[in-house]
Amino acid sequence: MTPLRKILCTESSNKQVVCHTRIVCKDVYYLNKIQELGIFTNSFLNLGKTHATTHSFHLNQYRQFGWHITCGKTIQRTDRNEQPFERSRDEMTSENFVDRYRELIEDPTFSRIVEWKANHSGSKIIGCYPVYTPVELIHAAGMLPVGILGGGNRLEIAHADSRFQSFICSIVKSTLELGLTGKLHFLDGIVFHSICDPARNLASVFQRNFPQMMVEFIHFPQNMVSPHTVKYLSAEYRRIKSAYEGLAGKAVTDEALRQSIRIYNEQRKLIRELYRIRSEKPHNLSTAECYVLNRIGTLLPVEEHIAIVKEAIAAINQRDEKPKDRIRVILEGSFCEQPPLELIEGLEAAGCYLLDDDFLQGWRWFLKDIPLDGEPIQNLARAYLDHSVFSGVKHDLREPKSKHLIDKVRETGANAVIILAAKFCEPALFDYALYRQALEREGIPHLYLEFEEKMWIFDKSRTEVETFVESMLFD
């Protein structure tokens, strides 16, 4: 039988379990059990909601009720004797990668990276704000690129509101909040890009508030059809390269850069493979899992990530889950700000197989490998121009975005599109107007949803998606 509801925990020294609770109380039976433990008050436990909080309690309290600790990280209840009914029929039977890596990607203190830095004295870390960072340049200089993608829904915004207006998206504020609360102390530098006005201003705010940090800003070309585009972007990358050479205290040779491109090509290949599996057999690989496996790539050294993904793909290929009665959806979000994992899981649980997405995780900037022959900087620039994944912040007159979306629907055989846009995200809203016109012209059902990284109640969006799915299933 399947493992039951899990609570992610870390064990501290005095046999206390520090529980960064993510209790998904979809199931009253477990809710009652957890309540019986007397650890949580009623206000934390509401049906159908996921709660984020931290509590300490003694291990024995759990053991008493038939829960036990596995892997030192997870509390899992395996005693099913008291189970009054058979399990619901909607749980996957194989081990879930979301459980394994959730803590790593949701930890707002970046403890894994802090630990890495402590073990690699003298090594430098560069934070990468979304999107399209040429991580190869950072890697070739011997530094670690780390994705800084906001604070998720575990971070309370207290200081950043004084620097930005109330109509600015969450990721800008939570990223600043991370800095202002000292959680980015491990960064030697951070890089922003010309993706939107708030991101542009965030770079200046960082410069002013964190003088010890090297703040870089990459101006991406907006004109994709000019013959000078590659030349311009190459010059921009060279400027960044020399800045990083100064910070790292070593020169970046073409050979070193080629070697970095080679390693990231390998990572790209594996991520493409994950996307292929998910698109062809979404019952064997959920989007939440695919997402987590990609996102940890922005938090680990690339070599380590490659090994993890290789192992994961081998395990996923062994899976043989039964396909469910679900609609097949393309998820489009112009993502920079990231939706909470619970929301992604909720979309799937509401009855969708997500065949493709534009989360842009795991440095998934390019759909093809970057050539190794020729001048590496120029190859990086050309890859951005010709093979980068479409997003709300790239404007390419050679292929309208809406056509790209419609093609994606046709190629994957999806039945519908869900547009998941971050609140106050202008690029996403501009895109939505284009997408909506095209989808209506083509007669493709679609649903528009708004999210915020800090949201933690998902009932409303879930009901909306479920109703959308049902309107298609019971047509």
């Binding site: 199931d27 809710l31 009652n32 009054p84 619901s88 479920e466 019971f474």
Partner: protein, 277 residues
């Protein structure tokens, strides 16, 4: 003969309806929702089964709806209350294109197609002032049984104004009306009017159509129906048991799925036979 069950697990009560293949009601039950949802669902289903003279194994398909829809482990499918209520409403009132559902905790308005398919919908914000829970609090304060609220309200001659959009503040308005000696019926009608005007805003956002079908527990209160009719200024349909519409819609959809599964199976058998030939 096959039977299906629709279980509507609401915030206040759990409703079960058992239908046969001819869409005839064979059994029904209403049980107060308690914390142990699976046990409540089991109890409600057993009562309805008993009434129908059936056993658990006679149920070929079970569809759940309502906010506790995921908490019934023995379900075949869960359906949102929006989808199921729309199906139930259009089954009883085929001409309706607009449905308003006011339950204990939430209010939903939807515009639907002739098939019962939901085209557009809006739900209330997380606020008690828009749903039945508000009436319950008012009744408690006025020391009136909830069953009597509808009849008292419909007798109102001078409805009082409850203008606040917040349930807590509205309560102090009610206190003011009590202290100035207003009749209980008039105050209750004020509560109904306040709910109706909030419902109108939702209906308009979803898309107001000629014939509104009003469902959910609150629709049992005559005064509320009257208030709604006066506010939306169109025909308002109310069935005899408006709180059972969700369970009815779920059961109807269960029948649809059962039929589909059978068709698929037959198709498979035919294909296999063709292959064998």
């Amino acid at each position: 003969m096959s039977f299906v069950a629709g279980i509507d697990m609401g915030a206040k009560s759990t409703k079960v309806l058992i239908l046969d293949e001819e869409k005839r009601i064979q059994g029904r039950s209403v049980v107060k929702t308690r914390v142990d949802f699976p046990a409540v669902a089991k109890e409600a289903v057993n009562t309805a089964l008993q009434q129908a003279g059936l056993k658990e194994k006679d149920l070929s398909y079970i569809a759940t709806t309502g906010f506790g829809r995921y908490n019934v482990p023995f379900r075949d499918i869960q359906i949102t209350e929006i989808t199921s209520v729309a199906r139930g409403a259009v089954f009883l009132f085929p001409k309706t294109r607009c449905v308003l559902d006011i339950g204990a905790q939430s209010t939903r308005a939807m515009r639907i197609l002739g098939t019962g398919k939901v085209q557009n919908f809006r739900t209330n914000d997380k606020c008690a002032a828009g749903a039945g829970g508000f009436i319950e609090r008012a009744a408690k304060y006025l020391e009136v049984k909830i069953e009597e609220v509808g009849d008292l309200s419909i007798q109102a001659t001078k409805p009082q104004t409850i203008s606040s959009v917040c349930a807590v503040l509205a309560e102090s308005e009610i206190i003011n009306h009590v202290s100035s000696g207003e009749k209980i019926g008039d105050i209750l009608r004020g509560v109904h009017n306040s709910l109706a005007s909030r419902a109108l805003a939702l209906i308009k956002r979803a898309g107001l159509e000629d014939e509104v079908t009003f469902v959910g527990g609150v629709a049992r209160q005559k005064g509320m129906v009257k208030a709604l009719e006066e506010t939306v200024k169109t025909k308002v349909n109310v069935s005899e048991e408006p709180d059972m519409i969700g369970a009815l819609g779920a059961a109807l959809l269960a029948l649809r799925r059962l039929e589909k599964i059978r068709q698929d199976r037959e198709k498979e058998t035919t294909t296999e036979e063709t292959r064998a030939v």
